[in-house]
């Protein structure tokens, strides 16, 4: 198990290194530099710009800048934001926390709904409830995330039931603890709804497919023949058997949720990594962009690593293979 975990972590490290390199490359190669806009401003003297350039190290070759950045990363220093004039690390921290909150809750909610729905549908395979659910899921799947988010936003604005953006109401700091939680919760409702609605169709389809296969399997029929009660058949036998594809799906869904969260956060003004990253890209704020992308990748990789370990624990066949390989 340890060896397996170490191997997966080594993969993860490789992945992160690759991502950081690519991001660095793309950002540096992308047209426009941070100071280009300043150059256009006639009020700023060229000497100032040159001084800023050397201060920010932008006059050095790419490879050197990457090496410097790596060294700094080893110290835990993510670089400096040109736009904010502050270290990137603390700036990202708050945003990352908010994104994690949003994605985490969406993940939980999406799976809590998808699992029972998928199982329910699989049990009635071929019947009209199954058909309706599949059609509904397909319909939702077609709608792009951004349209969903905007749609929900419009509903929120028109009806005024939910706050239309942001994370906290004005004057939140002065609220009591319980009231603050409720306040945050209300603000979460919109982005969570958008994210959940965008991922649920895929989840339900895969859960359904996994269960249709499992429910049809020889061992389930044999268990029925042994008189195992219905509920146990599904939750104990079925779920354990379907764990393999479902855990892989879990890992995948972390990825889709993270990427979906970017758009949703921007549309619903949720102060997470999304809007921050967007802003930084537009401003060519190099180190923020790299830091943000790297952070998202870390979340993704951690999610997948957790899924891998979970799979190793859940499926004894992978354990035997893992040992033999």
């Amino acid at each position: 198990m340890i060896r397996y975990a170490l191997r997966r972590m080594a993969h993860a490290a490789f992945l992160l290194a690759g991502v950081s390199l690519l991001t660095f490359l793309f950002s540096a190669l992308a047209p426009g530099k941070y100071l280009d806009e300043m150059k256009l401003d006639p009020r700023i003297a060229p000497e100032t710009i040159a001084a800023l350039r050397s201060e920010y190290g932008m006059d050095q070759p790419l490879a050197m800048r990457y090496a410097r950045w790596l060294k700094a990363l080893a110290r835990g220093d993510l670089g400096y934001s040109f736009a904010y004039g502050q270290p990137v690390g603390p700036l990202l921290r708050v945003r990352a926390r908010n994104t994690l909150l949003l994605t985490g809750i969406s993940l939980l909610l999406a799976w809590s709904l998808a699992l029972p729905l998928g199982i329910w549908s699989a049990q009635r395979e071929g019947g009209w409830p199954d058909y309706l659910l599949t059609a509904g899921a397909a319909g939702l799947l077609i709608i792009p995330d951004i349209v969903l988010a905007l749609g929900l936003l419009i509903v929120a604005v028109r009806t005024g039931w939910l706050p239309a953006g942001g994370m906290e109401s004005v004057g939140a700091e002065s609220m009591g603890w319980a009231a603050r939680v409720r306040d945050t919760g209300l603000h979460l409702a919109l982005p969570v709804a958008a994210l959940v609605l965008s991922t649920i169709p895929m989840l339900v389809r895969h859960v359904r497919a996994a269960f249709v296969e499992v429910l049809d399997a020889g061992y389930l029929r044999a268990a029925r023949a042994h008189g195992i009660p219905r509920g146990r058949l599904v939750w104990r036998y079925g779920l354990r058997a379907a764990a393999n594809p479902l855990i892989s799906l879990l890992g995948l869904s972390v990825g889709t949720l993270l990427s979906g969260s970017l758009i949703v956060e921007v549309v619903t003004s949720w102060p997470g990594l999304g809007p921050f990253l967007l802003e930084a890209i537009l401003a060519r704020d190099l180190y923020v962009v790299i830091g943000g992308v790297l952070l998202s990748t870390v979340f993704l990789v951690c999610g997948n690593l957790a899924a891998d370990l979970l799979l190793y624990w859940a499926d004894p066949r992978i354990r035997s293979q893992g040992e033999a390989a």
């Binding site: 029929r221 042994h226 146990r232 058997a241 859940a314 035997s320």
Partner: protein, 324 residues
């Protein structure tokens, strides 16, 4: 002695969208007493697996019992709600399927799987561990500790079959229905499993319905034999009679097909075969099912189906040669 199971005029059919209605079993009747072993001989398409499923109320989707009666321990099973049947299955009436490798849960340890069966019927609490260990011991003998903690994919075919047997036995059923339990095993393992079946059956005085396509396995083992052909009974009687002195032309032809042992007839000798193929179950021709391939067919055989003729005690045959 009271019959453990009594099947009367059982008709089972499958309906599906593309092939319409297929008659899988027609007019099957037999009775089995406590402690008796009934060997059911049937080839592919004979309906033997359907019979196993019908007895336990576990027909595949699309299958239904058209008419007939299945009485188990004096109680009519057909028409009973699923909740009731669930209590009987595994506890009083155990079922073993073909392909043990597919019938065991891939992510559960062996001991756990046997435990689940016992738990489902007798609940948790005291006695469950003993029952589980007892069942595992009965099929594995000494190696129980190691095998109990193993997963199915770590076991051989014969060992998996033993686990299935342990699961079937753990609640002490009155009847065990085994559908081709030795089908995918090599001869040495097959012989061991067969021996295990005989020992357990004798030790527990269980009634056993042993379904197979190879009649040779039943000699010296079954008390009675039921021969199925294309969904109907060809012959049913005491094992010795059916094997030594088969009455129905199909039974005779089938028994002739098997190469003799241990006296081979010599290379290049042709085995007697049953010409042709089994009938199409979707559009069965009129008359006796075996008629197109029967060496002894008469005019009547192509017109209507023969009924049962009683030949001696508990021996019936469905053939016009004997009346019909």
């Amino acid at each position: 002695m009271p019959s453990i199971v009594e099947v009367r005029d059982l008709h089972v059919a499958y309906s599906s969208r593309w092939s319409g209605e297929t008659r899988a079993l027609e007019g099957v009747s037999f009775a089995l007493e406590a402690g008796e072993v009934l060997g059911v001989v049937g080839e592919s398409g004979s309906g033997k697996s359907t019979l196993a499923g019908a007895l336990a109320g576990l027909l595949p989707p699309g299958g239904r019992v058209v008419r007939g009666s299945v009485r188990f321990e004096g109680r009519e099973l057909l028409g009973e709600p699923e909740a009731e049947l669930r209590h009987i299955r595994g506890a009083r009436l155990a079922l073993i399927f073909q392909e043990a490798s597919l019938a065991l849960h891939p992510s559960m340890r062996v001991r756990q799987q046997v435990r689940e069966v016992r738990r489902a019927h007798r609940g948790g609490g005291t006695g469950i561990d003993e029952a589980v260990e007892g069942a595992l011991h009965a099929v594995f003998g000494a190696d129980v500790a190691r095998i109990g903690s193993a997963y199915p994919h770590e076991l051989s075919g014969g060992q998996r079959q033993r686990v299935m047997l342990a699961q079937a036995m753990v609640c002490g059923p009155a009847l065990l229905v085994a559908d081709e339990p030795t089908a995918s095993l090599d001869p040495v393992t097959l012989a061991e499993i067969l021996k295990l079946f005989r020992e357990l059956q004798a030790a527990r005085g269980m009634a056993l319905i042993f379904i197979t396509h190879n009649p040779a396995l039943l000699s010296g083992f079954a008390h009675r034999i039921l021969v199925l052909y294309a969904g109907g009974v060809a012959e049913c009687g005491p094992a010795k009679e059916v094997l030594r002195n088969p009455k129905h032309p199909y039974t005779k032809a089938l028994l002739d097909c098997l190469p003799a042992w241990p006296a081979p007839r010599g290379a290049y000798a042709r085995l007697p075969v049953i010409p042709g193929d089994p009938p199409d179950r979707n559009a069965p021709p009129p008359g006796c099912r075996f008629e197109p391939r029967c060496a002894a067919r008469m005019e009547e055989c192509g017109v209507r189906e023969p009924g049962a003729t009683q030949l001696g005690r508990a021996h019936s045959v469905f053939c016009f040669k004997y009346g019909g």
